[in-house]
Symmetry: C3
């Protein structure tokens, strides 16, 4: 199972209140700019255990962002490489039978070593093998989770994490008591999100809080991708508009975002890594959409834009505090 | 084993009699236009179990055509996803050892559920594992088969299907009695066709008739790809010129055509799906060839053309009745 | 584990003495031109057992160079196809568990049949499974090895091959006695070279001599890729400047070079094949760099350039004798 696009409404950003945009001098923007620069200067290795469909784009996106890439499927390879890679990316898209043993073994190895990693729970909820693998990660959790709303909802369900109201939801739902209840959602429609980003907000916050308790340095983050991305470390939540509907018409926009998140995680804290990668892809997607004539030329222009964007341009992207 | 191009003669279309082109108002053209529109409006999910070389292009072609994609290799995943996908695509290009059990199990599951699927018998005739897998499909057959001439000939041989003369062949061979005999052919040269499309015409008709007997709704189709494609449902046979010789200089033109056939099969009958996908690729290939400077830019332009072609343009492609 | 780029210094070519460039009429240049032409005319099949990340680019590069491609992972497939392919390419990038048995079996089959093949020892030195596989090839060796400096050093170490001084090194080290000692090197940094090309020169020569003793017709070659490539048959050593730093910013430049080396090996002797492929990629990389705006458009332009370069242009590339 590998991720492809979902036809989401990229005009949703129109509903976002621009007055909540982080000010130019906010320390978070400085940390994002620093992460982008550090990757370009240090060319850190982030390794991936990822699906077969989009792994070429994941590697190319990591390289275009300034990092280096290595892909592997054998525990001995992956754990050996974890000594020289500063972060890893695991994507459960296209599973093979032996992954059922290999992935839990790798996650335990990462946990033991305090090695930070990004989980992309592609198609969470589909297939007994995938469920068994994702269940195992509950006891050797990632540092960052990136997925679409349906995947985040399915994963928190699976791990028995009770969604909590985010600050924004609590504020906007002052008169009601339903906010903290588990959101209604259907099971994933393949690799497509059938739920919108906001419906996963409280699940994302709860998941980030839970991950923080086991994270190497007590810090974790969750990124929910969609027309407007949501990023949270469990304490603060941000919404990042941008990107392009064409990102849903190529395969691997989400996977390569996850891979680049691991690249940034090699040089930055989880919240900064999740914000920097999301901001980079949102800006790059907009630029690529303006330069392309369809999904073929869009993918080419996307890689070029990842390569050409400056640290300051990435850091200046809209980041709305909620 | 994964499909790559064969250096075929795309000038062969010059030998085709244009007077047999289906008239503008033919109901088949209306059905093709409707299929193209339905895919764009319904964005149906067609899942794939396909080779590792071209699976990225298959997914991107399905997305560019308006559908959505999911790729998987585990029977639990695939059969679970068959509940939400309206059609599937199986390509036996790059095999792994466990496919020997997984693919027959999946085909039986599809047969039991009446789930329509497209088979791409890449490199049929090479390797004992592939032969064993293709043999198993005889008892849980696909709804559509798409391949090059050598693959169609190898598959019908393997299944003990005796080629029958198509109407055209019967007409042109009125004075002879050899037409219905098994065509002479060599074994596939890797993933290349060594036989031309016409040599597989009677095998294709016989195969389509055979598939129709087991197909979910009694309808099936066979598409033989080449410089001029041949499409038949066992009753009627059509030839579709177009495309570009550059399609043989990128890997995956055939596989992505098969994947998009599954996308159309999710919204249309087998004959319409096979015709619509072939017509789409033939037009897109011509457009892309006019816009590119080699195989790299051709692949980019091909995806853009799949995205930009209108339903009416696809339906207006040359479709020659024989 | 799959190969990605290393940020190497492509200005290193400035240090090369142009007076050592092979004269226009050198027979080696004529053999290179002939190999390029033969591939375009004969479209030979070279099959690959290669990593999942870059296999699409490998196939597309082989097609763009004029050959045809087939990818497989099953010994029965691969050995069956070896009857119709004139050369093969094996790349140990992304391993699966069953490769531990499959790859030694395939190498033994190639040895028994005298079938020529190119080994790409990606990430040599990382992971027990990869080491076991590479160790097994010692007793059923390839005809050509292509890798970065760190991989060549790791492989010769692993096979117990003692580096010998190349003629150039002997000359330049006339006053010292350390030249023939095993070069100092660290283990590979993932799939990146951490050693420079010259540091692997004597290992490459020793490896080529060793391979020649078992090669089908007594001829073998080793190619060390970097800012300036080094190619040797154990008797003569050449340095080939060119290419572009952008080649290290896409995944698979090295793998596709190895794949195309196998394509040329299907029509030429090992030294000519290694030189022709290196010269082709160096010229294509330069052209593509001048036409692109980042790694996305660079990859597209690289494939176009592989397709458009003439045999004479490839043969006229700088080839410096040392």
């Amino acid at each position: 199972m590998s991720e492809s696009g979902s036809a989401a409404d990229f005009n949703a950003s129109a509903d976002i209140n621009p007055s909540t945009n982080l000010p130019e001098g906010d320390p978070i923007r400085a940390r994002i700019a620093q992460a982008v620069r550090d990757v370009r200067e240090q060319t850190p290795l982030a390794q991936s255990f990822t699906n077969f469909v989009t792994m070429n784009l994941v590697a190319n996106a990591q390289l275009a962002s300034g990092g280096t890439a290595a892909m592997s499927f054998l525990p001995d390879d992956v754990l050996d490489t974890a000594h020289i890679a500063k972060a890893s990316y695991i994507n459960v898209g296209t599973l093979l039978p032996f992954y059922k043993d290999a992935l839990p073994q790798i996650a335990r190895g990462f946990a033991k070593a305090g090695h930070p990693w990004v989980l992309d729970p592609v198609a969470a909820g589909i297939g007994a093998t995938r469920t068994e693998i994702l269940q195992s990660f509950r006891f050797a959790p990632p540092t960052v989770v990136r997925g679409n709303a349906s995947e985040i909802l399915a994963l928190t369900d699976m791990w028995g994490i009770r969604p909590v109201a985010s600050a924004a939801e609590t504020a906007s739902a002052a008169e009601t008591t339903e906010t903290a209840a588990a959101p209604e959602h259907t099971r994933p429609a393949g690799v497509e999100a059938v739920d919108d980003v906001d419906s996963a907000a409280s699940a994302a916050v709860a998941l980030a809080k839970s991950l923080s308790r086991t994270a190497p340095n007590g810090k974790a983050a969750v990124a929910v991708s969609g027309p407007v991305d949501l990023v949270t470390d469990g304490e603060r939540t941000f919404r990042l508009p941008g990107g392009s509907a064409l990102m849903t018409k190529i395969t691997g926009a989400g996977c390569s975002l996850g891979g680049v998140m691991a690249t940034y995680l090699a040089v930055a804290d989880p919240l900064t890594a999740a914000l920097a990668a999301s901001a980079l892809f949102n800006r790059a997607g907009q630029i690529a959409a303006g330069q392309s004539h369809g999904p073929g030329s869009f993918q080419v222009a996307l890689l070029d834009a990842l390569w050409n964007l400056t640290a300051d341009e990435v850091a200046a992207s809209p980041i709305l505090a909620v």
